[in-house]
Amino acid sequence: MRSERSPILEVGVDSVFHTILIFSIFLLIVGHNSPGGGFVGGLVAGAALVLRYVSGGQAEVRRFVPFEAETLFGVGLLVAATTGIVPAVAGGTFLESEIWETEVPVLGTVKLSSTLFFDCGVYLVVVGLVLMVLGVLGATEADASQPDDGEALVDGPAVADAEAETGAETGADADGLREERP
């Protein structure tokens, strides 16, 4: 998006980026007992991506997150929904939570709740959302000439209308129907 980059900004972002990401995961994990959780963690990770964006634009974000926002939505929803379905299949109710406790040598008693997986799903969806916003609003200069919202509003119904009409005409014309050979 910009022709000149700021080295100071880039180095600065480089130095904090991973720390912020780790902090976001920290928030995700401790969320059950202290402030944090999937939503907050996802927002922090999103903020890290925003920093990347500010320092190096869309390409820089892409370098660190090589998937589409859709993928994150899909995986996130899948993880969250699976957390719900697994206990239901195992004989409990939908989204019933389970808590496991184990002794880990150095860390002591570690408690793991199945809701953590659910929170991971939320985390991924939120990160996907930030990624989408950056992709949509912050793309390239070419988008500056994009039609603004007002025009899009006017366009919307007209396009849908045209589609529905062609659909109705072609679909209902049963007598004139011909299928090309497969």
């Binding site: 202290s34 809701t115 969806v125 209902a172 497969p182």
Partner: protein, 769 residues
């Protein structure tokens, strides 16, 4: 039984995964699902024939009373066997029908899912569950009709089919709700054992029947079925002749024994069924496209089935089941034959096809058997079905009996005539006609065994059960008994002696032959009315009107002005809860201004930032000041002891400022200067009103609580039940996990919508430089 449904899900996923590597052979993998279902059904036959009803119940969402109740009685066994048998053959056929293309997963997976939904539909013992499967068949049918989505006709037909059947399904849901309320149960078997009565039930039945009519392509909703023929032939054979369109018939068959005596039932069912049977037959006689000919023939036969099952006496139900089996076998077989003809001759036009009997002897034999069954010729199952239907109708002692009998006879004559037209036009060699146009479509060899064998397998029961009807008899007798009363003295055989039914059969065949021999005259008569009334025109008109109304409503409601939208929202807020506040508010006795000095300092800062934001000239400044307001509020949360809320507020505020900044790049640097100061007066008024309202509301609401706050319970249960000390998080992921799941789904779907719109906008921009 649940396992059978899960099998379909698994196979669908596997098909999707393997499709790119296996090409068209992935259809053989898909065939495992119906094959497995068939094997499972076979293991249940002896139990079901012993009069057992296999049941399985799984509590799904207890709080909503949603239960997966499945039951297998003899009638559902008949349906499951049909679905499994036709399904297996169709999948094998499809493995040869398509060319090798990598995207067949898009075809195979919905087809497997459809088979699963259809099995679920006939196993469901719960009205709501039945509805869910019902809609699933509509959705998968939509995907399958529109498979060749580069063709506008296929897309239109798919849309039309889902609009008609989907709307019918919703009407049916309303009927189900009324029925369930009247009966006090959602369970189908309980409902049928003790059917409710009353005027509500009458209304409910009509609504349910509308759903059944749309699904089973009854007049005046029949038009979607012929249009759906733009789907690939395996779909036409499986969904649109053998199974899905039978869903409505199935529902009528299940409900009829319990509700046939309701005053609305028989008039509705018989009038609609009769009209459908006659119209379908008449239109079929007029088609040149053999696939459309068969489609209208299906419409006609569905009308026949609706009549038989709708009457609801044990004899007609018995005959209906025989006809149902007969129709599924001969019609699916014929559709597969049409697919073969299309595949080899590259046309489906009767005026171009000729003499295929010589070039494709095996296909011809299959077609001949199936067609003879359809026309009702002995010694085939179609003949036996028609005989028992006529016989049962002769035994109806009611005023409408002879009229319905006449309709069935006329419909059968038409059936004979269009069957003869189909066979003659496709397979016979007409010496008198010039062959110049036709020779282009000459066929030299028969299709591969992968295509002919499935067609033969599907059509085989027409002959086997025709010659050996006693094999089929116990199952049909039990199936009829499982629907209602058992038939007294059931008989299922080729020869009943010289009786009235045989006489009627002779009349049908004789008149049919005459109609066929005089086909030029028939064609001329049919061509006479220039402007025929078509139901499809009504559909087009309805869609156009709907679009017009939506257009105009949008024009009025969506002015496109952001200030107007905001003004409406804010004034609604002020007027509705605001008036309640003025009328019935209990003002607090004493007010505490602040609990710490920090609060005062931060509040003053927030107010200053807000005022400055309103007065800012540059957009970026305004956005930053707004962000400052948000940060201030976050600090207030912090002071109040809500770290989670504060953290979230802080992060959301940060991202909001960034997003604003991104948007601002597309906007002018400064706000447009307000030249006309009067225009600001209404805005000022709205702003002041909202400010006063929010302040007053905040003061009053803190005192207005009457019940115990839910937070007490949440706080008490968070650690022991949720296992977390952070109550906010426990609520989000555990107590209210369902809500959260819904919320992230909404967010993801909305975001996908935005992405799609933006990308579409970019694409169209690239096309227009």
């Amino acid at each position: 039984m649940l396992g059978v449904l899960v099998l379909h899900l698994v196979v669908a996923a596997v098909v999707l995964a393997l499709a790119p590597t296996l090409g068209r052979r992935v259809m053989l993998v898909a065939a495992l699902a119906p094959l497995g279902t068939g094997l499972w059904a076979a293991t249940q036959v002896s139990a079901v024939l012993d009069g057992e009803t296999v049941q399985q119940s799984y509590r799904w969402v207890d709080q909503l009373g949603l239960v997966i109740d499945l039951r297998l009685n003899a009638f559902s066994l008949v349906m499951v066997s049909l679905i499994a048998a036709v399904g297996t053959c169709v999948f094998v056929y499809a493995s040869a029908y398509f060319g090798d293309r990598p995207d067949l997963g898009r075809f195979g997976a919905p087809l497997v899912l459809f088979a699963g939904a259809m099995v679920g539909l006939v196993l469901a013992d719960d009205l709501l569950l039945l509805f869910v499967f019902w809609e699933l068949t509509s959705v998968t049918s939509y995907l399958l009709i529109g498979f060749e989505d580069e063709k506008a006709a296929a897309r239109g037909a798919a849309l039309q089919a889902i609009l008609v059947t989907g709307a019918g399904g919703l009407v049916m849901l309303a009927g189900f709700v009324l029925l369930g309320q009247a009966a006090g149960t959602w369970q189908l078997s309980e409902l049928l054992a003790d059917p409710p009565t009353g005027s509500t039930v009458g209304v409910a039945l009509v609504l349910v029947l509308v759903g059944a009519f749309t699904k089973s392509a009854q007049v005046p909703f029949h038009f979607w079925l012929p249009a759906a023929m733009s789907a690939p032939t395996p779909v036409s054979a499986f969904l649109h002749s053998a199974t899905m369109v039978k869903a409505g018939v199935y529902l009528i068959a299940v409900l009829a024994p319990a509700f046939a005596t309701e005053p609305v039932w028989r008039p509705t069912v018989l009038v609609v069924g009769s009209a459908t049977m006659l119209l379908g037959g008449y239109r079929a006689l007029r088609q040149h496209d053999i696939k459309l000919l068969l489609a209208f023939g299906t419409v006609s036969q569905l009308g026949f089935l609706v009549i038989l099952f709708g009457i609801g006496t044990p004899e007609t139900t018995f005959a209906g089941i025989v006809m149902l089996i007969a129709h599924a076998t001969f019609k699916a077989g014929l559709f597969l034959v049409v697919g073969i003809v299309d595949h080899e001759a590259h046309t489906r036009d009767l005026r171009r096809l000729y003499g295929l009997a010589r070039a494709m002897p095996y296909t011809f034999v299959v077609a001949a058997v199936a067609a003879a069954s359809m026309a009702g010729l002995p010694p085939l199952l179609g003949f036996i079905g028609k005989e028992s239907a006529l016989e049962s109708l002769l035994h109806v002692h009611a005023g409408w009996g002879p009229a319905v009998l006449a309709v069935v006879v006329v419909g059968s004559i038409l059936t004979f005539a269009y069957t003869a037209r189909f066979m003659w036009g496709t397979f016979a060699t007409e010496p008198t006609q010039a062959r110049t146009i036709r020779s282009r479509y000459a066929v030299t060899h028969d299709a591969t065994a992968w295509m002919v064998a499935p067609a033969a397998l599907i059509a085989a029961p027409a002959l086997v059960f025709g010659l050996l009807p006693f094999v089929l008899k116990p199952l049909v007798v039990d199936a009829a008994a499982s629907l209602g009363e058992a038939v007294e003295d059931p008989s299922l055989s080729l020869w009943h002696g010289f009786n009235a039914a045989l006489g009627l059969s002779a009349i049908i065949i004789g008149t049919g032959v005459v109609l066929f021999l005089r086909r030029r005259t028939v064609e001329r008569v049919q061509a006479m009315p220039r402007r025929s009334v078509e139901a499809a025109a009504g559909y087009r008109q309805a869609i156009t009107t709907l679009n017009d109304v939506a257009d105009r409503t949008t024009g009025v409601v969506q002015s496109g002005s952001l200030p107007v939208y905001l003004g409406i929202i804010l004034m609604t807020l002020v007027l509705l809860p605001g008036s309640a506040l003025v009328l019935a508010a209990a003002w607090p006795e004493e007010l505490q201004l602040a609990s710490s000095w920090l609060q005062v300092v931060v509040s003053v800062a927030v107010v200053l930032a807000a005022v400055a934001a309103a007065r800012a000239r540059r957009r970026l400044v305004a956005v930053l000041l707004l962000g400052g307001v948000g940060y201030g509020v976050a600090v207030l949360f912090m002071v109040q002891g809500a770290p989670d809320l504060a953290l979230t507020q802080l992060l959301v505020e940060t991202l909001a400022v960034v997003i604003f900044a991104l948007v601002l790049r597309h906007l002018p640097d400064r706000f447009e200067p307000q030249t006309w100061r009067i225009a600001q007066v209404p805005r000022l008024l709205v702003a002041a009103a909202v400010g006063v309202f929010v302040t007053a509301a905040a003061l009053v609401m803190g005192n207005a609580r009457q019940g115990a706050p839910i937070s007490v319970e949440h706080l008490a249960r968070a650690l022991p039940e949720g296992g977390g000390k952070n109550v906010v998080n426990v609520i989000l992921v555990d107590f209210r996990g369902f809500d959260t799941l819904g919320e992230i789904t909404v967010i993801a779907v909305a975001a996908l919508g935005v992405l799609t719109l933006v990308r579409a906008g970019r694409r169209s921009e690239e096309e227009v430089p």
